[in-house]
Each structure stands twice: as C-alpha cells, then as structure tokens.
Assembly symmetry: C2
C-alpha cells in the first residue's frame, strides 16, 4: 500500500459527486496534485480467525493465510488441541514461523465448568499468548475474573447471535462484565451482531472500550437466516464499521472469520482481504 | 452492496483523521446517523479480460469469473478462435450464458496486415460484439479508420508499456489516432502505463475521452521490472484512478487482467475484486 493512496481523497476534499459535474474537455483537465503528508497510522491490524479453516489441517491454513498477506492467527483447538504437549506447541509455533505467521490469541474456547476454565488459562499460558477468546457459562464469570488477575491475560467473550443463549450481542456481554475486571472484554463478531438484528457499527461505538478482539465477516441479511458472505456483498457497512473501530482507539486484530465455502474458502477470504485493504487505504 | 454504505463518509463529512482525536468515553459516543440519499450511480462496470485465463479452458474461466461476481468478459482468441464456425460461436455464447456471463468485446487481437484487419472485424461481427481491442501496425490505421465506419464498431488500441514498439502508453496512441474517426480509441492498461513510468491517473485525465476499455491491474514498481500483483499491494493509487475514471464520464468496463499466479489465479483475482468493490462502495 502506497502512502499517497489513502490520502488522495482527504487532500482534495472532493468526492466523486462534486467532480462528476465537471465535463471532460479533451486534455483540459489538469491532473490532481498528490498529497504530500504521511497517512494516519491505523493502530489495528488484519488477522485470521482459525475457525475459518475448520475443514483444513494447519499447513493448509497457514498456506492460505500467508497467501492473502495475513500474519496474525487466532489459534483454534482443532489446530492445536487443549491438551497439547510442550513439544506439540513448539512444533506448532515452528510451523507458523515457516509461513511468517504468529498466533496472537487462542479460541473461541467454551468453558462450562471450573476444569475447563483452569485448562484454558493454562493452555494459553503454555501457548504463550496473552488473550483468550472464550465463551464462559455465566456461573464461571467469577472464576474468570480471578484468573485474568492471576495470569494478567485479556479474556474476550465471543458473541454468537441468534441461538446463543449466553452472549448473542455485545450489549448482553457488557451487562455481564461491566463490573468485572477490565481485562475481561469481548471479541465482537460483527456478522452475528447483525444476524441478531443489531447494527454492529452502533455496538462498536457503544461498547468499543471493552472490545479486545474482532471477527469480521459480512452477512446476507440481518436475521437468523443471514449467512456469511464476502465482505462487500452483504449488508454490513464496513467503511462505517472501520471508521467506528478507529474512533474507539481499537488496537487489536480484525480477524477474518469466513464461513462460506468452508471446503474451498480461499477465493472468498481473498475478496474480504481486498475489501479490507481498500477501505483502509481510503481512511 | 448496500445503498447506505458508500454514502457514509460523504454524509458525515468526517474522515477518520478528524474523528481520531475524539476520546472514547464509555458509551458516551452516539452512533452516526446514516445517510438517507441514494448513492451516485457509477456508470462503468467491472469486467474480466480473457487473457487472465491464458492457462485455462473456457469452462474454468467462466467458473472463476462467475465466482467473483463478474458478468462481462473480453473474449480472447484462445477461448474462441478467430476462425470459429457459427456453431462454435453459438456454443461459446451458450456456455457463457450458463454462467451468467456475456462477452462485451474481443481481443486484444494483433493486426499486422490487411487480412488480419479484415478477419478481426468479420470475427467481431460474427461473435456479435461492438468493440475490438486491437494492436494494429501503424500502416494498418487507415484501413482500421475505414472499417470502424463500415461496421460502426469501437476499436480500442491496447497499450503494453516497456517493450511495446508501437503503443506503450496512451499518449503515444493518442498521437496516432487523434485525427482518425472517434470510434478509434484505446484500451488503457493502467499497469503497463506505470511500468513505462507514467502515472495512469494523469493519463486517464488527459486521454479519457478516447478510453473505451480498460485493463486494471496493480504492479510492483514503475519500471519494466514491475510485475502484476493484487490490487492494493502494488504502487497504483486506485482510489485516485477510479476517481479520475469517474470524472471522465467513462461508461465502459474496468476489466481485471491479473497476470500473477497464472496457473492458480483465483485468489489474486478475488482480492482485486474485493479492492475494487470497496473503492466503489466508498465513492
């Protein structure tokens, strides 16, 4: 991405609408002068949610992730099981490194009882990440509150929209965590939020201070019938969403979780990456 | 693409830079009000240059083109030879229709002598398109000038950058055609223009009135060493380019000609499509 690209529209202050009235008179239109100042640094980055590759082993996951230029992976247990040995973990990291990829978190991990909470925190520690994306039963929240203090980890609760009895949308999560340690926050799945009928842009602006991870995906409609699709083909207003994300000062990962075509996802993932890149080149 | 997405930035009149200074105060930030007016209609469309699929038969070409949501194809002779029979042509169109795709032009076709010019115009007529993307030897231009009148076709001369002795960039084409019938114009290959060291944005603004087709591709550097890459990963300022294209009133196709990974191009093509879609959603 070049530095002058994303500043073009800002510098000129002219959108296409304003310019469209200008008739083309042969060679009479002078080229625009390019912006000379540096673009604003976006403090967050694109990532990959491991779940995207639920049908693939690690090597294929890394190959496809590398191909679209993503270097941060949220590790799912089907690629690195919760009971992995130290050697398994070492080999996992080595394999990731071969593709220039680094795990930045683990999850989502469901935690229905004390053992599962304990296991997840120990797992994250052994894997060497500082964030768990989790789905704790409500009665586990006090224990999670202790654990984040003990381990000094962030714990991002994942919202799953329609059918999720515990955490369908960020406002529900917020109600449950607002009085807990601030290291407990959420992994905002913007697709599931819209599938529950709530605008993820508004949710981002309202609860952004507790959003620590994101699953980005477009969806076909704002109901339980909505399904995952390529960014830009669905109903989510991504330019507005990322504008909101930037406004909240978010500095985590925007991880692609692409669930369409899950036995052949690369083309759809790549389309999402192109969309994300263009939105950010124009911010 | 939703109607309110592309109008968000225009309506608010606020870029991320302006907003970034606003601190996040819990739930204090009110969601932005969405734009209510209709977005500006972009009069041009995404297309696919047949050359992208130089290593693939027609069926694979159509399958991949359909998958990325493109419905307009510039037909290359390796998919429909110049000496195709009426039946071949009928079967070609039928196969395209099965994938919801329509040929909008033929070419690029090199025309070094009278027979090749005659053959190309007859071919285009039999195929049923109204535009030829061509590369005529200079001495063929008077004949091409007669033919466009006779057939009432558009004839778009393709520029090929470094190594192209005839038509490296639009300004060279323009010099050759400026006094010929206005149905003779150019197919602006923006990647090859930059590879020749000329900014395709400036070329678009200067010669847009004679640009009738486009090959869009990003390139790694502005020299003959530059190679094709995914849109957004190279040096072309596509937001500025499409702003320029829109300003000229262009109403043709912006056809992806992706030359990287030509035995496995789908992921790269998809990334280009995502990039194109986002730029246009934000225009």
């Amino acid at each position: 991405m070049t530095s002058n690209r994303r500043t073009f529209f800002k510098k000129t202050g002219l959108g296409v609408t304003a310019l469209a009235a200008t008739p083309l008179l042969g060679k009479a239109i002078a080229p625009e002068k390019k912006a000379e100042f540096a673009p604003r640094k976006i403090p967050y980055e694109l990532g990959m949610a491991g779940y995207t590759f639920v049908k693939f082993p690690l090597e294929d996951t890394l190959r496809m992730t590398q191909r679209v230029g993503i270097t941060h992976l949220c590790i799912k247990d089907f690629h690195l099981p919760l009971d992995s040995s130290e050697k398994d973990i070492e080999q996992f990291h080595q394999k990731c490194a071969e593709y220039g990829i680094k795990g930045y978190a683990v999850g989502p991990i469901y935690m229905r009882n004390v053992d599962q909470v304990n296991q997840a925190f120990e797992y994250a520690k052994r894997v060497g990440v500082r964030m768990i994306v989790g789905v704790p039963n409500y009665e586990m929240l006090p224990l999670v509150d202790e654990k984040v203090k003990e381990y000094d980890f962030r714990y991002a609760i994942h919202n799953h929209g329609p059918g999720d009895e515990l955490y369908p949308i960020p406002s529900v999560i917020h109600e449950k965590i607002k009085n807990l340690d601030r290291r407990i926050g959420m992994c905002h799945d913007v697709g599931h939020t819209w599938r529950y009928g709530y605008d993820p842009v508004k949710m981002t602006l309202e609860y952004g201070d507790r959003i620590y991870d994101m699953h980005i995906k477009d969806v076909t409609e704002a109901s339980s019938k909505g399904t995952s699709c390529e960014m830009g083909r669905g109903i989510i207003d991504f330019p507005a969403l990322f504008d909101a994300v930037a406004r909240t000062g978010y500095s985590g990962k925007c991880s692609i979780e692409f669930e369409k075509d899950n036995t052949d996802p690369l083309a759809g993932i790549a389309e999402c990456v192109g969309y994300y890149n263009a939105v950010h080149d124009m911010m």
